[in-house]
Symmetry: C2
Subunit: 356 residues, 2 copies
């Protein structure tokens, strides 16, 4: 037990402590400025040299305010401005713009860390994979749960037989989006920018991807129900969604997600011999609950918030870029989530089961 | 808050404290002897006068051991033996025998408290409803969650707008059946005795019925996946099951159930403004979690176990029998659960959505 606790935060993925990856950050919203920037500054292997935004003026102003060397516009980025100042880009823009920045980065031979979901459609995500494969540039999708210690320890325990055979999975990710950002014109409610919808693309992806990572099993077929009720959600199909996913080995997975509901995240994996829960599960709050043989252990780790999650993610990415190592959540891995999300939307539209 | 706690166990359903219902108990397994019998003895309005079992000898022996006046066989029960000694019967036998005992009780003009699920098939359940309606005898299905204070207080809060509009529901009920009873020939694994299957009939019914009671909304369509893996489950389709239920008003409900998994029960209702959870939910362990506006209250009530749940249920039944009052979980209410469970099985068999 002592050894387990002391090794809780261990970076079992780390292969180097040498070198620095210099980043250009694209999409200067609160997420990038308030979380990604401090996370990289707190990381061992990263530094931010360049800000990219809608206008040179805005980029320069924010670069100045935040002590970053270069501030350039998206147009300047596409023209290769300041390209000597960074080794990698972090894409934190609306989904439907990810591809064009990845294309330019591939042209410029830069590594890419792209927020999830990786694009707005399967086709555009596939194009991103091809572009990066062709240019032979590293592409990682920013699934920060995969470097969260709670998730990595859960995965080790599952692989060690802690829960026996996995039987069922439940994932929920709900939040009151309009309380967090009252603007009803925001991109998450605009399918041209977000893609298939809002709740599964933006929230459900956490349950889906974390389960794929934890169990190393893929969904084989999905069924789903979606609906929109409030006026702000009239352009998207999934203010609310529920899905049933048939995973390999007969594992039954159920999910609910909503952008217009009480804040709650939970991921629960029940097996023949035990159960592992993340509750809360996502957004830098992961708490681990381990049950087996009549005993439940709850693991709380101080100060592991969303910024810490981001720091681990950036150092994992930098570790792989610096060593030319294999990236687990690469473009192919992210593309599979896009296929699953599209299938969930198709299933909800048709009331049919959709095979994957 | 003080008033709320002091009224937590209040029997808001009680209409009389006078009178006694004398019971014959059918099906003398551990549930009846160890839980139903002491629950009735602890109740205000009930007393046990008669035991009914497979043979006169066994019934007499158990009656003797437990200080009960009469011990008769099922044959003797059907012949009206000792019928003057009881006013009501409690049916705790395997599902597929419920109807025949209800028929005799109706003939004998006795009130009926019948364990859930009410029978093995929709057709037999409907027959029970008709028989009892025709004979004008009270029929209650033993949904003891409906008189559990945690559930009743949750229902009041939901009706008072605590969670806003209901958005999603998650229910899980799993247990390691063969650890609880290692006999692989037990009736719960035999479709001739249990009905459509084992996990949804025996466990899933808790999530389904408690949600119907709490939200006062019915499922309109269901989708489901089931599978059997271990040898002991070869005759039933649902060692494991997952279901997606579309409830009225766009509420998405997801459930998982298994008779061969880690012991776990949870029922979580998420709304636009709050969340109410029973976690654990069932089997006399209900703990209430109330979340709203960033605050969560956890309500633990001492000594409210399965026997207490049964006591409340028996006194509710007796109250209605003695006053000729309306029974909420009556045969028609129980029949609807049978329809829902059949639809879940049909959906799993066909991979299609099944409308209700």
């Amino acid at each position: 037990m002592k050894e387990w606790i002391d090794a809780y935060e261990e970076r079992d993925w780390q292969t180097t402590t040498d070198g620095t990856v210099r980043y250009a950050l694209l999409g200067l919203g609160w997420w990038t400025i308030d979380l990604a920037l401090p996370a990289i500054r707190d990381s061992d292997l990263g530094e931010v040299t360049t800000f990219v935004s809608s206008s040179t003026e805005k980029a320069e102003r924010l670069a100045d305010e935040n002590g970053v060397d270069h501030g350039i516009s998206y147009d300047e980025f596409h023209e290769g401005e300041a390209a000597g100042a960074y080794d990698a880009i972090y894409i934190g823009t609306p989904n439907a713009f990810h591809l064009e920045y990845a294309e330019t980065a591939a042209d410029l031979d830069k590594a890419i860390l792209c927020e999830k979901p990786m694009e707005s459609t399967v086709e555009r995500a596939r194009e991103m994979v091809e572009v990066c494969d062709d240019a032979d540039v590293p592409l990682m999708i920013a699934y920060r749960m995969q470097t969260d210690p709670a998730v990595r320890r859960a995965k080790e325990l599952i692989e060690d037989g802690f829960i026996g055979e996995p039987v069922s999975v439940y994932g929920n990710n709900s939040q009151p989006l309009l309380e967090m950002n009252p603007n009803t014109d925001q991109w998450r409610l605009n399918p041209d920018l977000s893609g298939y919808g809002t709740s599964v693309m933006d929230l459900g992806i956490y349950s889906i991807n974390t389960t794929r990572f934890l169990l190393d099993r893929e969904p084989q077929a999905v069924q789903a129900q979606m609906s929109a009720h409030a006026e702000a959600f009239e352009d998207v199909p999934d203010e609310r969604s529920g899905a049933l996913l048939a995973l390999e080995d007969g594992i039954k997975m159920v999910t609910t997600d909503s952008q217009n509901a009480h804040d709650d995240t939970q991921l629960k994996i029940t097996g023949t011999e035990g159960q592992i829960q993340l509750n809360p599960a996502f957004h830098g709050k992961a708490k681990l609950h381990l049950s087996r043989n009549g005993t439940t252990i709850t693991v709380e780790h101080e100060e592991f918030d969303a910024e810490d999650e981001m720091r681990e993610e950036f150092d994992y990415f930098a570790d792989r870029v610096l060593t030319d190592g294999e990236i687990f959540p690469d473009g192919h891995h992210g593309l599979q989530d896009m296929r699953i999300i599209r299938a969930i939307h198709e299933a909800a539209e048709s009331d049919d089961i959709v095979e994957l």
